[in-house]
Amino acid sequence: MSETLSLTGLAIRGPNRLLVENVSLSLAAGRVTALVGPSGSGKTLTARALLGLVGFKPGVISGTLEAGGAHLALTHATPQDYRPLRGKLLGYLPQGARASLDPLWTVERSVGASAALGSGPNDPSHWLRLSGFDDPEQVLRHFPHELSGGMAQRAALACALAGGSRFLIADEPTTGLDPTVQEGILRHLTRLKARGLGVLLITHDLRLLPELADEVLVMAAGRIEERVTPEALVAGALRSEAGVRLLEATRTIASGRLG
């Protein structure tokens, strides 16, 4: 259980400014690494760079990725280089789960197509069960527009895992869901973690972290400002300005006091 995936020195340049600067992070089996920060701080972009999905020029200007014994220079990686990575080693649960499912495909077909590429079981029900459906038969023949928010999230999770990934990027997995569903998703991620999945959890909601995360990276304006333990977070021991502001906002909302 010592498998790791580590990113070193990532920098991404947009058309007219640097968007991500010197970001390094590493994921390990059975650990949840949380990437927190305000909107626009570069969290999602970092995640997309891991999968070679930065779709603009000049894009990634430096950074290396080490995983599964392979060493990948992100600046001139080709789609072929990402083939062993995408879906098979690293699954991606994007923000907005419903939109990430093909609207013309049933859940069965979507999960099945992903499973067919991996070395695990080809049966979609297996992956749906793993993603928290007690009775997968219920959703197999449904289309994304027929699913509730929570169901869509779990179906998308099944797609992300079905390729046999041992790591998962979960981008804002609880945003836009109601609290009980949020709790269900969190509980489920905890279960997956216990089964040995390494997770990069992207969020701006610090309330999720104490129970789930093993390490918290605070990101602001494209840089990682500090790395803390969830315990430090709970104790309020954040030093960076961005982290303090995020923590204050979370406390204000949680306690219902505004102004």
């Binding site: 999968l51 999905l53 990402y82 083939r83 990575l85 995408r86 879906g87 098979k88 699954g91 991606y92 994007p94 907005g96 939109a99 990430s100 499912l101 093909d102 609207p103 013309l104 495909w105 049933t106 197509a113 992903s114 590429l117 023949r141 449904h142 289309f143 527009h145 027929e146 998308a156 797609c159 992300a160 079905a162 390729g163």
Partner: protein, 319 residues
């Protein structure tokens, strides 16, 4: 392909069929009324001798008030009787005049539709997401009206062949000179020009390019890419859906273009007859062809709806 909720599909399809039948009925009423509300009557236009008038008027109910004539004519059309030709081929039943040529025209029409859709899609798959001079060139040529494209290409072919014959390079080709000589070239030319002209190809290309781009940029395509899946199995369904929507628009447009090309290139299809019958003010024939065109359009729309409902589950779910 499995359809979840086959009964929902059937229900939606029946509803669409009902609407199309109602619309087609409306079209029949519109066409028949247009014919009968005209000032004067068909006999005025034909220069019939006065002595023959009463007998002919009685036969075609021209002595009755307009609304009764409309009612009688409607009854006839709805029972499948399109009447007899007045001037184009006097005395011949309209159905007999138009059905044979209509079959030929249908072949040309659907060949052109298939050509414009495949050509436009292939180009779109090639140009989508990249800068390309094809786009401007395509627009420049395709925007020309079909009659002008036909005129220019016929002149170019004839002049070219003429020059080559004079120079002794070739013998007189058997199609020379267009469009007077019946030839496969003339038909092929009509189909190709119909697929390209009057903005046809550039519109198909632009629409398909939009479809390809928006599909590739969609969150589901990106998620599939992130899972290492090939996009093609996803893409074809979305493109087929866009093509279905597009063909519903294009068919009506191509019918108009075909009438023009049949006339310019002297192809004996139903469009050729439509033009001549219209010139002869032979209203039964013109009305018959108009209704035939509306019926073809309705059938194509129904087929398109069936395909759309099959492909897109969002359309068949009850709101």
């Amino acid at each position: 392909m499995r359809i979840q909720g086959g009964s929902a599909l059937l229900r939606a399809l029946l509803a669409r069929a009902g609407v199309l039948v109602a619309v087609l009925l409306g079209a029949v009423v519109l066409v028949v009324s247009l014919v009968h509300l005209a000032p004067g009557d068909a006999l005025d236009a034909q220069g019939i001798p006065e002595a023959l008038r009463p007998a002919l008027e009685a036969r075609w109910h021209l002595d009755l008030p307009v609304w009764q004539r409309v009612a009688i004519h409607l009854g006839e059309v709805l029972s499948g009787d399109l009447g007899t030709s007045l001037a184009y081929r006097p005395g011949t039943p309209v159905a007999e005049v138009i059905l044979g040529p209509a079959r030929r025209s249908a072949v040309w029409l659907f060949s052109a539709l298939a050509l414009t859709l495949t050509w436009g899609t292939a180009l779109a798959l090639y140009t989508a997401g990249r800068a390309s001079a094809h786009r401007v060139a395509l627009r420049t040529v395709s925007i020309l009206p079909v009659f002008l494209l036909a005129h220019l290409s016929v002149n170019a072919l004839n002049e070219g062949a003429f020059a080559a014959m004079n120079a002794g390079w070739i013998d007189r080709p058997d199609w020379f000179a267009l469009p007077d000589q019946a030839s496969a070239l003339r038909t092929a030319l009509a189909v190709v020009l119909l697929a390209v002209g009057s903005g046809g190809l550039t519109e198909v290309h632009a629409a398909m390019e939009r479809a390809v781009t928006s599909a590739r940029r969609s969150p589901w395509a990106e998620a599939a890419l992130a899972r290492g899946e090939p996009l093609a199995p996803h893409l074809w369904r979305h493109l087929l859906l866009a093509l279905t929507d597009l063909s519903l628009h294009r068919v009506a447009f191509l019918i108009g273009g075909l009438v023009i090309l049949e006339k310019v290139l002297l192809l004996h299809g139903v469009g050729f007859i439509l033009w001549d019958a219209a010139l002869h003010r032979d209203s039964p024939v013109v009305a018959g062809i108009t209704l035939l065109a509306a019926a073809v359009l309705a059938v194509v729309r129904l087929a398109g709806d069936a395909l759309r409902l099959t492909l897109d589950p969002r359309l068949r779910s009850d709101p």
